[in-house]
């Protein structure tokens, strides 16, 4: 891992910062304009406020305010039985809810000591990678919109609809999916779902190749993104960057490879890395990750093992509905699970998955009760958004918008 990677214009930037400090000191000389970017500006794609100090078009300072859609998930989670917390996780990174759902399920399974069958793990991998594609697809096409290319956005949005059709077939919902259960999936992949995934695998590569063709070597797009919002690998690590934003700086940290979960070690794929950590690199890394995700889905789809789609854990996994009507045991378990009367063992676990934006971690402390004693979400957006000020200072206002969309800050995950 290279940590000595510096952005090309570090010296210039340092010089600029030294001057900036002097200029900020004589703020009262009315040389600077205060500009309110947000909270509800369409170009910020979410509710973020930044109070900017501008010297003409150049940003001298930014003070971010967050928390506009804070919903106290960590507090609510302390009151709810385990299975009722999954819907909360949907609403964090709502561009890739299945990853959040699965990450949470795996955390609880780790606490309960349940191993789930291979087939369920493979189904999870397929759904998580579809979610990653839909996440990156939004991020990159929005980046196009913000730099003036609306067409690509509408074009790939159609593919997101197809991904959502697959979600719908698997779990019944499209955006906030609440997919799967503690102990596996709620149902097996139906023939229709398999068909939709197969169709998607055939159709999507062409669409994505065309999208890449439109932007990757586009003169205007390159001019707008190269060298914009750059961060060095060293600073990115200090700021706790993970995911595509860290990999764009040249560090190949990917949770799927370093701490494989859900059978990720069965699949062959590469970790794309960038070199400069600017907006263009982040765009390229996400683009390439979409191809790698496709590769993973293809492998999982072809080698989907036979077997059960859930673990044999009657205490935690709901019995089939028809058994509830005919068998006393099933009825009891059903009642106890739904009423949340199943106690989890005492313990403390941390589990992390590679979310759309980086390491999505769940730290769960259980005191042996029906609810978590403490559930902490390590939300990658919250952690790296604090570097935003450092990344936009010295650039122009229009570049700040691009930097924000290339970081893929999702308000729901930022504020939890």
């Amino acid at each position: 891992m290279a940590t000595d990677n510096k952005t090309a214009d570090t010296d210039q930037l340092q010089e600029f910062r030294d001057n900036r400090d002097l200029k900020l000191q004589d703020k009262k000389n009315e040389n600077l304009t205060t500009l309110n970017l947000g909270p509800t500006h369409p170009a910020t794609h979410g509710i973020f406020q930044n109070i900017l100090q501008m010297d003409g078009e150049v940003i001298m300072d930014a003070v971010p305010t967050i928390g506009y859609i804070h919903r106290a998930f960590e507090k609510i989670a302390e009151r709810r039985p385990f299975y009722q917390i999954t819907p909360l996780t949907d609403r964090m990174n709502y561009c890739s809810s299945p990853i959040n759902n699965m990450g949470y399920h795996m955390t609880v399974e780790k606490l309960l000591g349940i191993t789930i069958p291979k087939r369920a793990q493979y189904i999870r991998v397929i759904m998580m990678e579809l979610a990653r594609i839909s996440d990156h697809l939004i991020c990159n096409s929005i980046l196009g919109v913000d730099s003036g290319a609306f067409t690509g956005f509408l074009y790939v949005m159609q593919e997101r609809e197809h991904i959502y059709d697959i979600y719908e077939e698997v779990c019944g919902a499209r955006l906030t999916t609440n997919m799967g259960r503690i102990g596996g999936m709620e149902r097996d992949l139906s023939p229709k779902a398999l068909h939709l995934i197969g169709e998607f695998l055939k159709r999507f590569p062409k669409v994505w190749a065309e999208f890449e063709k439109m932007l990757t070597r586009n003169r205007i797009f390159i001019d707008r993104t190269v060298g914009v919002g750059a961060i060095s690998a060293e600073r990115a690590l200090s700021y706790g960057f993970t995911g595509p934003n860290l990999r764009a700086t040249g560090i190949d940290y990917d949770v799927r490879v370093m701490n494989p979960y859900s059978s990720y070690d069965d699949f062959e794929f590469e970790i794309p890395v960038g070199s400069k950590g600017d907006t263009y690199d982040r765009y390229l890394v996400r683009n390439e990750e979409v191809w790698q995700s496709l590769k993973i889905i293809e492998q999982a789809y072809k080698n989907l093992p036979e077997g059960s789609y859930h673990a044999d854990a009657p205490h935690y996994y709901l019995p089939p509905k028809q058994e509830v009507y005919t068998s006393m045991e099933a009825l009891i378990y059903h009642f106890k699970i739904v009423m949340g009367e199943i106690d989890a063992p005492k313990g403390e676990v941390y589990h992390s998955v590679e979310g759309g934006n980086g390491e999505l971690g769940f730290y769960l402390v259980s005191d042996g009760g029906r609810t978590p004693y403490r559930l902490h979400f390590r939300r990658p957006c919250f952690i790296y958004y604090q570097a935003y000020t450092e990344m936009i200072v010295g650039g122009q206002l229009a570049d700040a918008i691009l930097t924000l969309s290339s970081l893929n800050v999702i308000a729901g995950e930022l504020d939890a």
Partner: protein, 168 residues
């Protein structure tokens, strides 16, 4: 040196002494131990600088409230990760709720800035030396720290939500 929980723990105890590194256990494969607030910065700096360990990534920080532990009600959990060796560890510091003061970590990790603000916002930890210790997710006028266990989630004046109806 191979990084196993025993090796790392032995190394840290040799450096900081048994009175400062205690209650070590391994709940989920990640070594967890407790230290006191006088040593936390030196410890994390040591983990950062040591050539064998290179624990240079702060994964997360989380506060926990244990109202029944008299004199050590508040717990701060630091989870660190050595990306070089793929080794994780978890450090806990317990402080009394009457004096929830901890030194800031912002001089080592820039990311500690917002994590500490979050801990202040929700649990009332005070981080000495923090550059900007103000609330982050809740409104500034709030007069309490909502994640503390004495604050119930639901409105206690409501009569239609009786716990027994919900299996609680």
């Amino acid at each position: 040196m191979e990084l196993t929980n025993e090796n790392v723990l032995g190394k840290l105890i040799a450096q900081f002494g048994e009175e400062n590194i205690f209650d070590a256990y391994d709940p989920d494969g990640i070594m967890t131990f407790t230290t006191n607030r006088e040593n936390i910065i030196a410890l994390i700096q040591y983990l950062y600088d040591d050539k064998d360990l290179q624990v240079q990534f702060l994964t997360t920080m989380a506060g926990i409230h244990f109202p029944d532990h008299k004199g050590r009600e508040l717990c701060m959990m630091y989870q660190l990760h050595s990306l070089r060796h793929n080794y994780r560890l978890r450090i806990k510091v317990f402080v009394p709720i009457a004096d929830p003061v901890l030194p800031t970590l912002t001089n080592i990790y820039a990311t500690a800035n917002w994590m500490e603000r979050e801990a202040y916002d929700f649990y009332g930890f005070i981080f000495t030396g923090h550059p900007n210790l103000i609330r982050i997710l809740n409104i500034e006028e709030m007069e309490y720290h909502p994640m503390l266990k004495q604050y119930p989630l639901e409105d206690q004046t409501r009569e239609d939500k009786i716990d027994t109806y919900f299996g609680r």
